[in-house]
């Protein structure tokens, strides 16, 4: 039996526990699950865990880890215990996320047009036009519906007394949505009784909503039904499974650069019946690589002239090139101002306090307090190139300090956050593990946020790193309906 007494809330005293309140009783949304957990056995869980692995293996859901040849196709560990959000919590998050993505899309429109926010002195010009993530070639272009970031995965953490904070906005090519969907599939097969006992908001409509979103941003010049394709760098990319999965679920072609040709001022894919025009390209290739004619000339992944076709309104690229400026870690610190500037409202969701090493005073503070801070590269992602002060050795900190001094504007720092914990299956039963949350947002003719999202969990006891590339796992995430 998995007694609830065996589960001690929180990995550390200051962490918020998703399941248990301070007095040890379950939060209302976890009441049913707690009862159910008490009826489970360790062997039963082990058995289910194996079943889950078999399900994922069969589906082919793998994640490639760079620089690790032996494990180049690995399953992301899946934790059986769902993470549950109450309806009221979700409504709050939904409002906060919607406000934020609306503001960020408006920000993108503005900085690629008149730059009112710069003229108003709210953000220094060099932070924008001098930023390497800013794409001058995008200036003056009106993307369909004025949407730049169509597919967004907002990383949210819950800390301290239970407040939600946005950690990253991920406006380029966020991944993970396939895990959200596959996790739900697996859970429904493994524990149908749980779904009978809860009103869990559905998520399986995501591929259809994605398709609708993509269709809604077809170029104005496209009359009739737009043809959509998903552009992948190929099967050695870490997220290849997801690219194939999404194309399959939407019923559209998964293409590589070599399948596409530019002809007669339009984009076509080579099919067995000859060429077929593509109107909307959901590209899962970074800006630098999408077009060797306009960007990195050595890219073999992209299509020469693709960007010109985009600017000529012949094809829509999703997300737009140049969205990276809005999720740049240096711009991140300005997002509360961005929200206020464009919406006239206070931000609903707060930022994690962030120190910009580009600013002298803040840099000094960072260097003096490295042991308490997490330092990140401005353009890094996936947990690479960061320093977790409290866990680093003196030598590592010294070495990192010299890197910061050499190029301060390349770094930001944040306090170490005690991410909330959620019960997770471990060899001895159930233990608290730190989690974050990535809800997935679609922006087209309207803003659609799939209830829940992907919960990433640091499976190593005490660890705060949830990235799958660094040993993190995932959980199914439930939003309970009222």
């Amino acid at each position: 039996m998995l007694k609830k007494q065996a589960y001690v809330a929180g990995g550390s005293p200051e962490a918020y526990d998703e399941m248990l309140q301070a007095d040890g009783t379950p939060r209302p949304q976890y009441a049913e699950l707690t009862r159910w957990l008490e009826g489970q056995t360790r062997d039963g869980f082990r058995h289910k865990q194996q079943e889950a692995d078999a399900i994922f293996r069969r589906s082919g859901i793998t994640f490639a880890v760079y620089g690790d040849a032996a494990a180049s196709e690995r399953l992301i560990p899946f934790d059986l215990i769902p993470r549950i959000l109450a309806a009221s919590e979700w409504r709050f998050l939904q409002r906060g996320i919607e406000q934020r993505v609306r503001a960020l899309n408006t920000f993108l429109y503005d900085i690629y047009h008149r730059q009112e926010i710069v003229r108003a002195g709210r953000i220094p010009a060099e932070m924008v036009t001098g930023n390497s993530a800013f794409l001058p070639e995008m200036m003056g272009f009106d993307p369909p519906r004025n949407v730049y970031a169509h597919i967004i995965g907002t990383d949210i953490v819950r800390t301290g007394a239970g407040g939600f904070f946005v950690l990253e906005d991920n406006l380029r090519t966020p991944s993970g949505v396939s895990y959200m969907l596959e996790n739900r599939e697996a859970m429904m097969r493994l524990f149908p009784e749980l779904f009978a006992a809860h009103r869990v908001a559905q998520i399986e409509q995501y591929p259809e909503l994605l398709r609708q979103t993509l269709e809604s941003v077809a170029p104005a010049q496209c009359d009739g039904d737009p043809t959509i394709a998903v552009l992948t760098p190929g099967m050695f990319n870490s997220a290849y499974f997801e690219h194939a999965f999404l194309a399959d679920q939407m019923g559209v072609e998964l293409v590589m650069g070599s399948d596409l040709i530019v002809e007669d001022g339009a984009l076509f894919m080579r099919t067995i019946r000859g060429r077929e025009q593509v109107h909307v390209l959901y590209r899962r290739i970074d800006d630098d690589f999408i077009d060797p004619l306009n960007f990195r000339a050595d890219s073999l992944l992209g299509v020469p002239g693709l960007f010109d076709l985009y600017r000529a309104g012949k094809v829509t690229l999703v997300n737009a090139p140049g969205t990276g400026i809005a999720d740049d870690k240096a711009i991140y610190a300005y997002v509360p101002e961005i929200v206020e500037f464009y919406t006239g409202e206070k931000p609903i969701l707060n930022n994690v306090p962030t120190f910009r090493c580009a600013v002298d005073d803040e840099c000094t503070h960072v260097l003096d307090n490295l042991q308490d801070l997490v330092v990140k590269e401005v353009h890094g992602s996936g947990g690479y190139g960061m320093l977790i002060g409290p866990h680093a050795s003196k030598m590592q900190r010294r070495e990192f300090a010299s890197r910061i001094q050499a190029n301060p504007s390349n770094y930001i720092a944040q306090p170490t956050l005690s991410l909330s914990t959620c019960p997770s299956f471990e060899s001895n039963g159930i233990g608290p593990r730190h989690v974050d949350l990535r809800p997935f947002v679609l922006v087209g003719d309207q803003i659609r946020i799939t209830p829940g999202g992907l919960t990433r969990v640091a499976l190593k006891k005490g660890s705060l790193v949830v990235n799958s590339s660094q040993g993190g796992g995932t959980k199914d995430t439930w939003v309970l309906e009222d």
């Binding site: 082919g60 099967m235 194939a244 072609e253 998964l254």
Partner: protein, 312 residues
Amino acid sequence: MLGRTAASLFWMSRYMERAENIARLTEVGYRSALTPNSGGGHREDWRSILVAAGCLDAFEAKKRPATPEAIRAFLLLDRDHPSSVRSCVEIARNNARSVRTALTSEMWEALNSTWNELADLQPERIGPARLPEFLDWVRQRSAMFRGATIGTLLRTEGFHFSQIGAFLERADNTARILKMKYAVLLPGTGSSDRNAYQWETILRSVSAHRSYRHFFQEAYRPNNIAEFLILRQEMPRSLRYCTDQVQASLASLVELTERGQMGLALAGARYGKLAQVQIDALLRDGLGAFLDQFIIDTAEMAEAVADEFHFV
């Protein structure tokens, strides 16, 4: 369907078929090594197997002594040799992976688990004692994949590209085996022990030594063997049967896509010839030249299909 997807399905099945054929050829070599006094010596047998597998030059380029062990390792597990069983399965699996969503999960499982078992296999693990077991395993795996394809894949374009790949490869393989040994099938070849052994070898390499007896109900005779492997519609590895299958799939593709007429015309012309010609006439007019032309035509047919369906 993307041209690349069609190409990947074609090559996936073609390489799986090739893996099986290489395993069969290796088995022939292995058996001949067990047979005493097999005429020209074991070395010659292995050599002719490399010829039939179309990789004598590749082997010689490695400048290794032509011991049975070295040849076996080369044919089965060599990572640099694109037609080793290992490489064939790897290529088949990579093609499958790049079009994963065009396959059924049964097909993917069959291929992926085969590759997972093969990927780390060391040559030492399949010494003479374990070789037959390994070769059986390869054939079973190929059969499993074929069964998954036939049993689960929708009969749309993808299925037909897969079929065309498999049967062009099989036709090519049977033709090469015949080419390797055709001298012993020519009219007037006596039934010496040496020749009887060669005939058996041919039949074994296409797993037809037992079906021959069922079908003809008489001792091995060279023109029967030639007829069996070239002209009999009943024999699933015969040139005629393979051509028939390619033709059928191309006809379906023409119907589905209104393309592929050129490939279909080539297959139709070839099938018409195989359906009409008598074996005696074929042997009289020159079997070697016929086989050479057949192999060339097969390549041409593959090119026509690649071209018409934009394999990129």
